[in-house]
């Protein structure tokens, strides 16, 4: 699953994480460093390792300013900002997955629950 | 003379550059790595010595496959010879393809002096490929055929 996710992120970002030589210039140049839990060079390394769950759950992906300073300064042309963008997109896509299975519904039912709510839950949390 | 399809033994001419591939072929011999006896090697100083004429001639004289082996790109003993080979053969092979000599009957392969195993594997593979294609009669000059 993770591998597929990683490939998808690499493909949509067009970034080759293996080009990174771990110099940390991206992190050194990041203007929003203090706000981020994971920093640009960690992003690159975590994607390389396939450590995606932590990344996708992190607030960092929304705190990246997409200022492209890291892209501009990276001596190896790795483009971390594009990678962050791709992870963010993957996280957003995940929101559109099936989170409710119809078979589970009977167990959740409540007499006071309006039927409308069930319909709306399906609208929101399924594909 | 009728060619029996079952007993078809392809004739394969291999042009090998003196510095890499010929030495690679020697190495596969030294390591006793076998490849079919259909392959006969012609030594040339550099793969760029291989004139397209030689390949046409081989097909004319009844060869079923021709393979050219040279040093890896960047490793040419004469610094740039194999680049010429690559370009010339790309053109020649597409022309041969147009004439009806299947692409699989011709090949350029880079084999270094240390790649005896690769040489043997390449020759095994190439011979099998050509064997499957069957005899080449497209360019053969019947006047030259062995009596």
């Amino acid at each position: 699953m993770d591998n597929k996710q990683k490939e998808q992120i690499l493909r949509s970002s067009g970034v080759n994480v293996l080009k990174c030589m771990r110099c940390g210039k991206c992190t050194a140049t990041c203007p929003n460093y203090e706000e981020m839990e994971y920093h640009p060079h960690e992003f690159v390394y975590m994607v390389e390792k396939g450590d995606l769950e932590k990344l996708m759950a992190s607030q960092s992906i929304y705190r990246c300013l997409t200022c492209f300073a890291c892209v501009e300064r990276c001596p190896r042309g790795v483009e971390p900002a594009k990678l962050i963008e791709a992870v963010r997109l993957a996280a957003v896509h995940r929101q559109g997955e099936n989170h409710i299975v119809p078979d589970d519904i009977p167990g959740m039912l409540d007499d006071d629950l309006p039927q409308q709510a069930i319909v709306s839950v399906f609208r929101k949390y399924t594909k | 003379m009728q060619v029996n399809q079952k007993e078809f033994e392809p004739v394969i001419a291999a042009f090998c550059c003196n510095w890499c591939s010929y030495a690679g072929a020697d190495l596969s011999g030294t390591n006793r790595l076998s490849y079919p006896s259909n392959v006969k090697i012609i030594r040339v100083p550099c793969s760029c010595r291989v004139n397209p004429m030689f390949i046409l001639r081989a097909f004319q004289r009844g060869a079923d496959g021709v393979i050219i082996c040279g040093c890896h790109p960047g490793d040419c003993h004469y610094t740039s010879g194999n680049y010429f080979t690559r370009r010339r053969m790309t053109l020649l092979f597409s022309m041969l393809d147009y004439l009806g000599i299947e692409r699989d009957r011709t090949r350029v392969e880079w084999v270094s002096a240390a790649e005896g195993a690769k040489f043997a594997a390449t020759m095994n593979d190439f011979t099998e490929t050509v064997r499957k294609l069957g005899p080449n009669r497209r360019l053969e000059d019947l006047r030259c055929r062995k009596q």
């Binding site: 140049t29 190896r76 | 011999g29 006793r32 030594r43 100083p45 010595r49 004289r61 610094t79």
Partner: protein, 663 residues
């Protein structure tokens, strides 16, 4: 028809076990032209060779085919045997029936059949072999060294030591190169000038060495053994033979505002100048771009004060023609231009400097007499930040993809020297990796950390911003403590990548030598022939071949010298006779061959031909220099008219082999 002898070797059981050698000898005996065909246990043995020699004499053989091991193994042995029996060695052909037949096949029938075919191919080829004689070309007993840095100096000294004449061509007014600008050298911290200047003086005093300073190579013709080189001696407007180097003219020159290149522009020099006190030759030179006399015709002070009358405003560029047996390239390196590195504010702040600039600032002969002061306000810097890999290991267009190799060590040296001299200074070094392979190198770097307390931080500087108070705000990452650091520095030193000198590329074209994509000269073999270029007679010394520190440069310089000496020791060079030649009657002068020749062995000459109608026509035809041609055969295929052919591997010979194999 040739009288051919076929000799089939058993090689003990190596061949005989899988190939029916008797059948091979029998079958080949029926080939056209074969007068004798026999087999023997070991052809390469003394008695085997005797057998061949006797047969040559007895049957008057004019061609010998030996079915044995690979020609890479014993071709020379058999050629020598044939030659001793009076047969031209190039009338010997080998059919490889061991490595390429008996050792790879297990079935006797098919192996024997293949051995016969290989033998037939060799017989078919030898019918078309021509006797070849290896030519000889003379060697001029003189070497040229291009570049007068430490590499060129060392090479020249070594060649001169061996008793050969050497000329050094240096484009600057003095020899010495980059090393003359350095302060101290790692890992021993001895002063660069103290170890270099004696060598420079030795060059000047050695009778075998001639220095062409302020000169450039403009044309190279010829080939190994006799390179014909044109050297341009740029006008220095000072008579070298008269000038005593007293320096009076430089003192009196009214034009004193020219940035001093030797001190990286940190101070000024006059328009007539001597680059530095220990310059060799110690002769003044007038910079025509800044001299009032040369620009406007009004001044002439230097001419008036010169007591020996050495100033000559009318001096012109002169050209010298010399013949050399060997050429050593020692063009060296330069730091890259950091103008594009805006993030480090190199162009914005005078306090952001390169390491080479720091060398001058710290040098006792530098602008501040060896006291380390900030260029902007001449105050002592208390916080210094070193940035590594600026432009090195870069995958973009601004930098270089390779490691510049010397930066880790010189930065450790700088940091150490600063901490020793000014213990109140905080020194930070931002590194990606510290690379210290070399004798005593890692110990040296550890000393900087452990003994001198230099702060080595794994990370990179992302931004340097000049602040209003004159400080430099440095924003950097510390990858180990997961922090972003903000340091207020007084001085930022950038370890700029190094690149080959700009003159290297045009020089390589002149010399027909190869370069890589970074403009470093390519060696003939990366491991086994590291100081020779692929072009015979041209050797590589120092950083023109790749980034190098001083010990490595000197080692390579001496190696290049020994290779050049080996060549110069010979009176003549034996050439490979298997070279290309052009049939002048067929050649149409199209230049196709000239373009593919990697050695520049083909030139075009205009030659008179008597045409069929008895008129005489001047035609442009290709001419191959057999001493330069290495026999690759690229030209033979490029030739559209079929005029080019290769000795030993001619079109007809290869065709004959193809026919024998395919029939």
């Amino acid at each position: 028809m040739r009288k051919i002898g076929v000799f089939v070797c058993h090689c003990g059981t190596n061949i005989a076990a899988t190939v029916d050698v008797k059948a091979v000898a029998e079958a080949l005996g029926h080939e056209p032209g074969v007068v004798v065909s026999c087999e023997y246990q070991y052809m390469c043995s003394e008695s085997g060779q005797e057998l061949i020699k006797d047969s040559i004499k007895k049957h008057g053989l004019t061609g010998v085919v030996i079915c044995s091991c690979s020609p890479r193994m014993h071709e020379n042995t058999f050629r020598k045997a044939a030659a001793s029996a009076g047969l031209n060695p190039y009338l010997v052909e080998i059919a490889n029936i061991r490595e390429q037949c008996s050792w790879i096949h297990k079935d006797i029938a098919s192996a024997t059949e293949k051995a016969i075919i290989l033998g037939k191919a060799a017989v078919a080829k030898i019918h078309l072999n021509t006797p070849l004689t290896a030519g000889e070309s003379p060697v001029a007993k003189k070497a040229l060294v291009i570049g007068g840095g430490i590499a060129g100096i060392q090479t020249a000294l070594d060649i001169a030591e061996a008793g050969f004449e050497v000329d050094i061509v240096e484009k600057k007014p003095t020899i010495g190169g980059k090393m003359a600008q350095l302060d101290k050298t790692f890992p021993t911290l001895d002063c660069a000038a103290c170890i270099l200047t004696p060598k420079m003086v030795e060059c000047a005093q050695n009778e075998k060495i001639h220095i062409y300073s302020y000169s450039e190579v403009t044309e190279v013709k010829g080939f190994v053994g006799s390179f014909n080189v044109t050297i341009k001696k740029k006008a220095r407007f000072v008579d070298e033979t008269k000038c005593t180097g007293c320096g009076l003219c430089t003192e009196k020159c009214p034009m004193k505002k020219v940035p001093n290149e030797f001190n990286m522009g940190f101070d000024n020099r006059s328009a007539v100048y001597i680059p530095f006190a220990q310059a060799v030759p110690k002769v003044a030179v007038i910079d025509p771009a800044n001299c009032m006399m040369l620009k406007t015709g009004k001044c002439g002070v230097c001419s008036k004060v010169c007591t020996v009358g050495a100033i000559d405003y009318k001096q012109q560029d002169t050209y010298i023609n010399e013949t050399y047996g060997a050429i050593v390239v020692a063009t060296g390196y330069d730091p890259i231009d950091l103008g594009k590195y805006d993030e480090f504010a190199y162009s914005q702040s005078p306090d952001v400097i390169t390491s080479l600039e720091l060398e001058r600032l710290m040098n006792a002969a530098g602008p501040d007499g060896g006291t380390l002061l900030r260029p902007s306000d001449k105050k002592h810097p208390h916080t210094i930040v070193f940035v590594q890999c600026v432009g090195s290991r870069c995958d973009d267009s601004r930098g270089k993809p390779y490691c510049s190799k010397i930066c880790c060590m010189y930065t450790a040296k700088h940091a150490m020297l600063i901490r020793e001299k000014y213990p109140d200074t905080d020194v930070y070094v931002f590194y990606i990796d510290v690379r210290t392979p070399g004798k005593n190198f890692d110990e040296f770097y550890r000393r900087a950390v452990e003994q001198y307390n230099v702060h080595y931080i794994k990370g990179m500087v992302g931004k340097v911003e000049p602040k209003a108070d004159g400080k430099l705000s440095v924003q950097a990452s510390d990858l180990i403590s997961r922090e972003q650091l903000h340091i207020d520095a007084d001085l930022v030193v950038l370890a700029a990548a190094i690149e080959p000198d700009k003159t290297a590329r045009p020089l390589a074209t002149m010399l027909t030598t190869q370069m890589d994509t970074n403009d470093f000269f390519t060696e003939a073999h990366p491991k086994l022939r590291p100081v020779e270029s692929a072009t015979a007679g041209i050797f590589l010394s120092g950083a023109c071949q790749g980034p190098k520190d001083i010990p490595e440069t000197v080692a390579q310089a001496s190696a290049a010298a020994s290779k050049a000496i080996g060549l110069l020791c010979k009176n003549s060079i034996t050439c490979n006779p298997c070279v290309a030649h052009s049939d002048e009657l067929m050649c149409n002068g199209c230049s196709s061959c000239e373009k593919v020749c990697p050695y520049g062995a083909i030139t075009y000459i205009n030659k008179e031909f008597t045409m069929p109608d008895r008129t005489v026509a001047l035609r442009r035809v290709a001419s191959v220099n057999p001493a330069v041609c290495q026999g690759c055969g690229a030209c033979t295929v490029a030739c559209p008219s079929g005029a080019m052919d290769l000795n030993g591997f001619s079109n007809s010979q290869i065709m004959a082999e193809v026919d024998a194999i395919c029939k």
